[in-house]
Amino acid sequence: MVVSSTIIRFTRKLIGSIGQLRTITTSSKMSQSVQDTTDWTDKLEILKPEQVKKIPMYRIMDENGNIHDTAKDPMLDSETLRSMYKCMIQLNIMDKILYESQRQGRISFYMTSVGEEGTHLGSAAALSKEDLIYAQYRETGVLLWRGITLQECINQCYGNNLDRGKGKQMPCHYGSKDRNFVTISSPLATQIPQAVGSAYAFKRNKSNRCCVVYFGEGAASEGDAHAAFNFAATLEVPVVFFCRNNGYAISTPSEEQYRGDAIAGRALGYGISVIRVDGNDTLAVYNAMKVAREHSISKERPILIEAMTYRMGHHSTSDDSSAYRSNEEVETWQKFNPVERFRKYLESKNLWNEDQEKKCVEESKANVLKAFGEAEKVNKPDWREMFTDVNWSMPNNLIKQREYLANHLEKYKEHYPLQSYKHF
């Protein structure tokens, strides 16, 4: 009777622990964890949020691109600095052209990154290409830095036959296995606990990699964000939570999103280290990410970076932000523009000038238009792709449904846009 004796033993343990609990409470001691961490007080006091010092914002560069304390300058080599800037310009121009192309009905949807280029390039440049990235959707600059080509981006937006995602998701839902960038999905914040899981796997493999997960301040209100912060802390994983706090979640301003010290203020409650950084100061973001990455890997602990920035563009092509915020507000943020600020920094170091600017803009435009023209010419994938990758191997019911559609299309082909899809 192995089973019942185990159960009896177990029950004894259970009863034992209840007994133990009783003795603890009668001797007016709280559980060990509480006693370890708090002092007693006989003063009935409410601790109000406004009594706690807000987490300061780290910045090293003023609005004119000057770093006053040169010791804080990460001293990146000229090539890296120029590449970061060129990447920002490329991102801006792709955004402009694809935004317009959506307006002309050539792609179905688009989301720009205007105003948040500094958070993308500053953070991406501080990572190793082995680090796994989970993103929300407004992190295209991170992917560009990782080496995704414009052609790949635009193929994805078109959902053409060359898209690695096989045209299955909406535009801007990029992913790249080769660049360690997990495919984006629309449900907000779902990627945050997933990043924690991947980071746990890295820790067990001793792979010296971290996981970086990007999300907006709106997504941070989701239950999954809470789950992720708490799991990361208790399971001790090398993950960097990177919050882009741009002031809005679609039309909802942040004062309707939270009442605490924004997102950074929550980290300490979870026992997570934290840095708040000026998201429009690209090099401050770089420094923050560099330190955070090192911290997460060497200490096997999570860390949160909150980058304060401003969403200069509309939420998406389906949104007109003038319905809920003033032009003046957008204008006032213009002077903090991260791209301009970074350019001034480069100019002050004689790494950039007017001619280079002009040339870069023209080249970027040409690159986008060329990629755009190419993408438009390519057929959509074969309709049969609709049935692939649901499961690892296609189940019988799906094979039957594919056959049914084949027969149907044979009979009614003139009613479907078959000519723009690849066919064998």
């Binding site: 089973v3 019942s4 185990t6 159960i7 009896i8 177990f10 029950t11 259970l14 796994l132 898209d163 690695r164 995602g165 096989k166 299955k168 998701q169 839902h173 992913g175 790249s176 296995k177 997990v182 495919t183 999905s185 449900p187 779902t190 945050i192 606990p193 997933q194 990043a195 924690v196 899981g197 991947s198 980071a199 746990y200 796997a201 890295f202 067990r204 996981c211 239950g223 999954d224 809470h226 789950a227 992720a228 708490n230 799991f231 208790t234 399971l235 692939t388 990758d389 649901v390 499961n391 690892w392 191997s393 189940p395 019988n396 019911n397 799906l398």
Partner: protein, 368 residues
Amino acid sequence: MAVHSRSILFCREVSNLIFRKNVVRRSSHFQYYPDKNTPVEGETTKLNMFQAIGNALDIALEKDQSAVLFGEDVAFGGVFRCSMGLLQKHGKDRVFNTPLCEQGIVGFGIGLAVAGSTAIAEIQFADYIFPAFDQIVNEAAKYRYRSGGMFDCGRLTIRTPCGAVGHGALYHSQMPEAYFAHTPGLKIVIPRGPVKAKGLLLSCIEDKDPCIFFEPKVLYRAAVEEVPTHEYKLPLGKAEIVVPGNQVTLIGWGTQVHVLCEVAEIAKNSHGISCEVIDLMTILPWDSETVFNSAKKTGRVIIAHEAPMTCGFGSELAASIQDDCFLYLEAPVKRVTGFDSPFPHIFEPFYLPDKWRCLDAVINIVKY
């Protein structure tokens, strides 16, 4: 969520077991029919279902160093003892507790699988899987599809106790398989006893799609069988004819299979009716071949499940059977199921599709 009621249930279960001789178990709506079909040759051990599951988990952890087991209270052995001794054997980085948060557990498991680890997540009761519904339905199930096969979480298995237990009421009794059966990309498996549990669980863990493995909790201790000692796997997507017959096809899964076995016995002995009992085992993708062949042979089909009738998985089976076997059917396909109410506490004996309701359906369908 619902910690209090969980611990009450647990304590009650423990005391039920200790004082079993003095109390009438309320969860006696079925008689257990041990699986005599040994799937592989060789040595066997007498195990109940939680032990067979623990054994499968032990094998999986032994075989694959990337495999980890996690959930609420799994470290001390689990509230149903399925992970007993595994932490001591495989280490605390491989068998560990998570915070009490189901959406976190599944999201975390997906991330492990995306990074190439084998992730075995436990949701303490199937009734509490709903906070993770979004992670399962929108994320796990769609990972491969939406990335064009670049990323997947096929190495994820979610284990969860399910089904009636005699006194589990609304939140310790549910059978939520039909919610998930509506989701392309998942595999859903339910064993009827220790032999099947071990083989099917090992298949789920190695399968390249995310799987949900529902474990009928009333069988954890009640079901005892000779289980092959070594590793073996049973194919997913395959049903089994448990009792062969030629007049009525009875389809069920989990505990309900045992109810149907008894119904077949009574129908034969007392009414001279020959029933064929099918254990579906895999809900998604289900074995249409075995089901249709049987339906064509008998011409009469009854599907029985504990979950409510409306949009239960029986509806899918009934619709498919009438579509494929129309000319062979001698009577309408019938469903004997839980009622379209939440799962009740004191009314459980009247709620379940027990042997008398199933037997009545058999008698009626033959007379039709």
